[in-house]
């Protein structure tokens, strides 16, 4: 593909997608919860922007609806809910010390390369400009996964989960011009319900271990030391 032949709007899509990827790195390394939530909100807004630009360039009107949905859900509603939860749990000033942040970042870079290698056969199949973004979106998905593995704070894990969803959405938009509407609605509904449940769980976890550091959720292992009773 020759970059110079692309219209400006399509170059804009590439730039936006690249910034989405960069925000994944920011999310991964950001230790302050509030800042991480803001980064996530920006990521959602950028995914919505990519969607609307793809809608404009590809004349796919139903993508405008998806863009609005993403903006409402990922950039406004979910960050707002997280923000409220964080304030309610008094975690505004919480910072999480990451172990070997450089190593994690390098692992994320390796994931970007891995994603590219993985989707290479697919990119070769067709030469539309958005195909290139599939590698980026897979990288966003995998970095979200990495975040869930490396962060021990429950809210940070949820952010990782939600940024995985962002990556998936980006993949759907860039590879296929958006899934059928009913599927998109279903996915959005699932994400919303998941967010509500995550909120419920924050409270439950807080109640049970008095912290949101899920590393301390370690009672269940293969051979528990003490035997547990059914509590009667």
């Amino acid at each position: 593909m020759n970059m110079t032949t692309l219209p400006l709007l399509q170059q804009l899509v590439l730039v936006l997608a690249a910034i989405v990827l960069f925000l994944s790195f920011v999310l991964l390394a950001q230790t302050r919860l509030i800042s991480a939530i803001h980064a996530f909100a920006w990521q959602g807004a950028l995914v919505a922007a990519v969607t609307s630009v793809v809608a404009a360039t590809g004349q796919v009107p139903h993508l405008y609806f998806s863009a609005a949905l993403t903006l409402a859900l990922k950039a406004i509603l979910i960050p707002w809910m997280l923000h409220r939860l964080v304030r309610r749990l008094q975690l505004e000033r919480h910072t999480e010390s990451l172990q070997s942040p450089t190593l994690v970042t390098m692992a994320a870079v390796a994931l970007v390369i891995f994603s590219y290698w993985l989707v290479l056969p697919m990119i070769q199949a067709e030469l539309t400009f958005t195909r290139n973004i599939v590698a980026v979106s897979l990288a966003v998905v995998l970095i979200g996964l990495l975040m869930m593995v490396f962060r021990t704070q429950a809210v940070a894990q949820v952010l990782g989960f939600m940024s995985m969803e962002n990556g998936l959405f980006l993949a759907a938009v860039s590879a296929t011009g958006g899934m059928p509407l009913v599927v998109e609605l279903g996915v959005a509904f699932d994400v919303l319900v998941a967010m509500v449940l995550f909120g419920v769980f924050f409270l439950q976890i807080r109640e049970s271990i008095d912290s949101l550091d899920v590393d301390r959720l370690n009672r269940l292992s293969e051979t528990p030391g003490e035997t547990r009773t059914e509590g009667q």
């Binding site: 993985l118 056969p121 199949a125 989960f161 011009g177 699932d190 439950q204 049970s208 370690n218 528990p224």
Partner: protein, 506 residues
């Protein structure tokens, strides 16, 4: 109003109504009633499909013999393969709801949960049924994904129902792991849709399994290969394949026992069903590529590893529900291996195994629920002498474990025998692994079982109110299936085999 609408609407409406009923007793009965109607509807649906099937021959690779229809603009597809799982789901749903009524009353009586949480429990129980039935009957891969994710969302609050730190931990693990897994499956679905767009002109039909299957040969193999890896890892997490199985023992052991029964007996099946459906697509796409059996090999690999690892882990368990959840992983591994092996014999065996495993495992979990109530603990060390305290429970556990371990007169023996035969035919070296795995699992189960059933009961251990009818029905069915598979059922499974492999066995 057709059968399918009834099958889907009953649990959905049931969930909504149960969300309003707060008193324990009527809610339990209503839950039971909804399950009865569901089973009736499922049987009706099965009958309809059987009629269609008799009229139209299911030739190799053809997708006739199925009912396709639309509700609210969504494509549904019911054929011999999924209708048998629909009936099984409704059936186990019913028997578990029979068991759940007294069980949950006991839980309420001991003050572990209040009426509000019981209301959540009942509502989510039916919602879970609904999502599984949607996942089974929908023709749209995207909707299937939404439904399987919905099943996680419906059950995650049930796993943490008791709000103990362990339960919350188990639920969090379940939520996060399955959420991640299912997200990868969505990526696979997106890739599938991408492959479909290259060959199918109507974008709305691009995710319809029937359409995709008809065009499978034209789907880009490189993309489908990648898609399948993601889909297998994604749905495989739900199946409980090693190494994505971590959530399963926790969720099974910490949730209420009826939940364990339906999770083990039904949810795992639905996830495996999804994997098999997708394997059919990928096989169709890869048939002319350099690696036509890739999907099968992957399934065999994951299946065998799960089978062996879970068998070994059985030995180390101290919690009775954890132990049986590892047994579930082991059997899901075996089925996955069977489907991966391909061929009519192995597929028939795997389908039969799905059926008998669901029946046996839910019976075992029901029994275990009672046993835990008798002993007041789930710890294997402290469950002793069941057969003396309450013979019905003790015998059920003994027979159930004998059945799940693959003792001869039971159906599990039958299906395992079929699977072994198929293995010997196509991949003889694996027979050794399978046999040793079965022996290891057998030893793991029985070393724990013996003291629990025959040991000396502790002082003051009393029987509990237990409804053993579901267990008896399940175990009798399993025994019957072991002695003689009824002709209509054999024919039914054979039609499903024909659908999956393109060749019928009988």
């Amino acid at each position: 109003m057709n059968a399918l609408t009834l099958v889907l609407l009953t649990p959905l409406l049931g969930a909504l109504v149960l969300g309003l009923i707060r008193p324990a007793a009527p809610a339990g009965w209503f839950n039971l009633g909804v399950s009865v109607v569901s089973l009736g509807a499922a049987l009706w649906l099965g009958w309809t499909v059987a009629l269609v099937g008799d009229a139209v021959d299911t030739g190799p690779g053809s997708i006739t013999g199925s009912l396709s229809g639309g509700i609210a603009g969504l494509a549904f597809r019911v054929d011999a393969f999924n209708v048998y799982l629909v009936v099984l789901t409704a059936f186990v749903g019913l028997t578990t709801s029979i068991f759940s009524r007294p069980y949950m009353r006991h839980v309420i009586d001991t003050g572990r949960i209040g009426p509000n949480r019981l209301r959540t429990y009942h509502s989510m129980y039916q919602l879970f049924m609904f999502t599984m039935l949607v996942a089974l009957t929908t023709d749209n891969l995207g909707v299937m994904w939404v439904a399987v994710e919905g099943a996680t969302l419906a059950t995650v609050l049930l796993v943490s129902l008791y709000r103990t730190p362990e339960a919350v931990e188990a639920a969090w693990k379940y939520f996060i792991l399955c959420g991640v897994g299912i997200a990868l499956a969505l990526f696979g679905t997106v890739l599938t849709y991408f492959a479909a767009q290259q060959v199918i002109s109507d974008p709305a039909a691009g995710l319809n399994w029937s359409t995709l299957y008809a065009e499978a040969g034209r789907l880009e193999p490189a993309v489908m290969r990648l898609a399948f890896v993601f889909l297998l890892v994604g749905y495989g997490t739900k199946v409980g394949l090693v190494p994505m199985h971590q959530w399963l023992p926790d969720a099974h052991s910490e949730g209420p026992t009826p939940m364990s029964a339906v999770l083990s007996g039904l949810l795992l099946n639905v996830a495996l069903y999804a994997v098999v459906r997708l394997k059919m697509l990928v096989d169709g796409s890869l048939v002319h590529s350099s690696s036509p059996h890739l999907a099968g090999y992957l399934l065999m690999g994951f299946g065998l590893v799960s089978f062996m690892v879970a068998g070994l882990f059985l030995h180390r368990q101290r919690d009775i529900k954890r132990m049986f959840s590892y047994s579930s992983i082991e059997h899901m591994g075996l089925m996955t291996f069977g489907f991966g092996l391909g061929g009519p014999l192995a597929t028939f065996g795997a389908l039969l195994h799905m059926l008998v495993h669901s029946l046996t495992k839910s019976a075992i979990f029901i029994t275990v629920g009672h046993a835990a109530h008798i002993a007041g603990t789930q710890s294997i060390e402290h469950i002793r002498g069941l057969i003396r305290t309450q013979p019905a429970v003790g015998w059920s556990l003994l027979i159930g474990v004998a059945a799940i371990a693959g003792f001869p007169p039971f159906g599990v023996f039958m299906s395992e025998f079929l699977l072994l035969t198929a293995t010997m035919k196509t991949a003889p070296w694996f027979t050794l692994a399978l046999l040793s795995g079965l022996a290891v699992a057998f030893a793991g189960l029985f070393r724990h079982l013996h003291p629990m059933v025959y040991g000396i009961p502790p002082e003051g251990q009393r029987p509990v109110e237990a409804n053993m009818i579901p267990v008896a029905v399940h175990l009798t069915l399993v025994l019957w299936l072991g002695l003689a598979i009824p002709a209509f059922l054999a024919n039914w499974l054979d039609r499903a085999t024909g659908l999956i492999t393109g060749t019928r066995l009988l």
